[in-house]
Structures are given as structure tokens and as C-alpha cells.
Symmetry: C2
Amino acid sequence: MTPTATWGDREARRRDIMDAGRRLLSQQGYAALQMRDVAAGAGVSAGTVYTYFAAKEDLYAALFVEAVDEFCDQLEAILAAPGTPEQVFVQVATAYRDNYAVYGRDLNIWSVAFQADEIAEKNKPLLDASLRATGLAVQIVRATRPAGLPPEVDDVAVMSVFWAAITGLADQFTGVRGRLHDRSWQQSAELAAAILVGGLRALAEGH
Amino acid sequence: MTPTATWGDREARRRDIMDAGRRLLSQQGYAALQMRDVAAGAGVSAGTVYTYFAAKEDLYAALFVEAVDEFCDQLEAILAAPGTPEQVFVQVATAYRDNYAVYGRDLNIWSVAFQADEIAEKNKPLLDASLRATGLAVQIVRATRPAGLPPEVDDVAVMSVFWAAITGLADQFTGVRGRLHDRSWQQSAELAAAILVGGLRALAEGH
DNA sequence: ACCTGAACACCGTTCAAGT
DNA sequence: ACCTGAACACCGTTCAAGT
């Protein structure tokens, strides 16, 4: 993780900068992601960072895209070897929580990315990563949903509700509000899985 | 909402400052909550704000406590005239969403409040408001939960899962990610209610 | 006592000058 | 071309000086 780029090697330099940023962000949080420290960590001057990323926000977005892609890889692994719907829920939620701990608090970047009606060219990677994640989530729903659900309860609707529960759980356990009760992550995720999957099953059975 | 305090009236002055802060925060978001603008909005100089709130964070916390208290008032109204569990869920979620739109993105304040093992005296109002909200949420669960749940699925465990879904839904609809699908808030909240309440019922019936 | 506003500290960002 | 680092802009915060 020590900077390795030599003079003029823009590819390695960019990697050094992202490495330095990732280290600050994941170890000390967003407030510690300061451009002077990123520069120092990458072994360059402050001005140089700006020849690689036009703004701090762009550096953050690049790191976020990287994290979303890793999360997507985990989703693909889960999709490749699915267990029961309950097990899949807990696996997805756990994978998400680890990302959320680092990036969840500052999702404002999403609003930046989608602010313009036309997606700016530089935001394309962010959009692509987001679409990949959404597509995989829908596939997972499709692979695990019970038969017999009413037609208005389609894959996207189910995903939306399950996704809400997953992000909400991750928030409880990465923030400090988790301390308001003493259940473990595993217990909470399993209970959520039991309630959500059971509720979906009940809907399918026409209760 | 125009400043009204006269020289030396600390109570009215404090109200003017909070009014100015609340207006900036709710209309333009956290990034617009700048101390110089708060001061100007309250008709005082920048330095004066600091004789009422030791730091920007304390002003934010005071506004947040105010919002939590209003939310608690809404919870009490729901508790006083409960409908079906599904209806209660949608009512609570909707009340929460409106708060979340303004304060949800910057819940970091919670971590500040609970960081010390001993709660600092100045954070007591924040703690009190938080405990009031938690207590009401548990009461609502108690009033609406089905009979026959296994003993480990107690009120707090249920609240935790339902709360996760509510915060997650609010996040979907106040952020821009909501655009990833086109369901309305009402539709999404009702589906979540049907799944969660149905799942809890299934657990109680021993499925 | 209460209030002002210039000044300080900090951090994102720029740009003239170096190699 | 690539890189440096001093300088600028902005915003939270302080404090000597006013009333």
C-alpha cells in the first residue's frame, strides 16, 4: 500500500491516490478523507491529486464504484449457490452491511450522480455499477420468490421492500443506535429473514 | 418567522436563531446550514450565535430534538387511535419519512451524542428524546403484535425489524434511489406492511 | 451583560512556476 | 507533459472591543 508510481506513470499514480483515499475512508471515515492527506498518502502534492480527480467528490465516487462492484461480485456468488430464501437474505444483508459501514453514511453522492436529467459522462461508471447491483438484486428475488404471488407484487416491488429492510438493518448496526438493543447482527438478520420471507409466503398462499 | 428579539432578551433571541436554522435546514438541507447565514437570518452577528450554541453541532442537535419530539407527538396520536397493524405501520412510516427527509441524511449527530460512555449534560435532551421515541415504538408494537409469538421474538426484537424497514423505505423515497422504480410511497408502504405484518402473523401461528 | 465584526484555523481548489 | 507548493476562497470559531 506504499506509493509505487514513478514520474509520469499516470496509471500507477492514480492507483496510489485511490489506495491512499481508500485507506483513509475505510479506517477513519469520510471526515478523514482530506485532500492534503490523500496527497501525502500517495506521495504527491495536493495539486497533483486534482490532475487525476477534478474534485474530492470524484475521488469518492471512484472509490464508491469500486465498492459497489465488489458487492456485486458477492451477490453473484450468492446467486450461484443459493440456499433457502432465508439464508440468501442473511447472506445478502451481511455482505451489504460491510459496504454500508464505510459508504452508507454519505450516500449524498447518489443525488449528485443523478441530479442532471442527462447523466454526465463522468458519472457513467457510477450509473453502471448501480444498474448492475439493481439487476443482480432482481435476479436474486426471482430465484427465491415463492410461486403464486399476486401479479402486482412483482420482482421490483419485492426487492424494494427487502432492500429497505437490509439497508435499515445495516444502519442500525453500523450507527450507534444499535446499542438501543442488545441483539447480535446474526440474530437480527435471521429474525428479519423469517418475518419477510414468511410474509411473502403468506401473500403467495393468499392469506 | 422574522426575528423579533430585542436587546438582551435571550429567550426570544434563541428562538430567532433556531427559527433561522430550521428554515435553512428544512428548505435547503444540511449543506445550507451555515453559521453566517443562520446569524443573518436571526438578525444577529456571527459571534452572537456562539453565545447561544457552543458549536454548529449543538444548534443542529437542538433542532433535531425538536423534530424527534414532534414525531413522538405523532406516534402518540397513532397509539391513541390504532387501526389494523397494517394501517398503523403505514401511518408510522409516513410520519417518520417526513422527519427523515430533513434529518435522516446526517444522523452522525447520534454518534456524537453517544460517543462518551457517560452522556454529557448538554446531550441529555437528545438522549431523552431518543428514549421517548424508542419507548413509544415499543408500545406500538405491544399494542399491535399478534398473540402466540415465540418468547425470543419480544417487543424490542420486532421493533428493530420493523424500524429497519421504515428507515430503509424513507431512505429510498427521500434519496434519489427511489427513481430506480416507479411505485408510489403509499403502494410501497402498504406492501411492506402486508409482508411484515403477515410474516409476524405466520410466526405467531407457528409456520 | 450582551453584542459586533475582524481575525484565525482549516480544508477544498487553483495556478504560476519548476523539472 | 507532469508535478510542486504557495495562494485563494470558504466556513466554523474566537476574542478584543463596543454599547
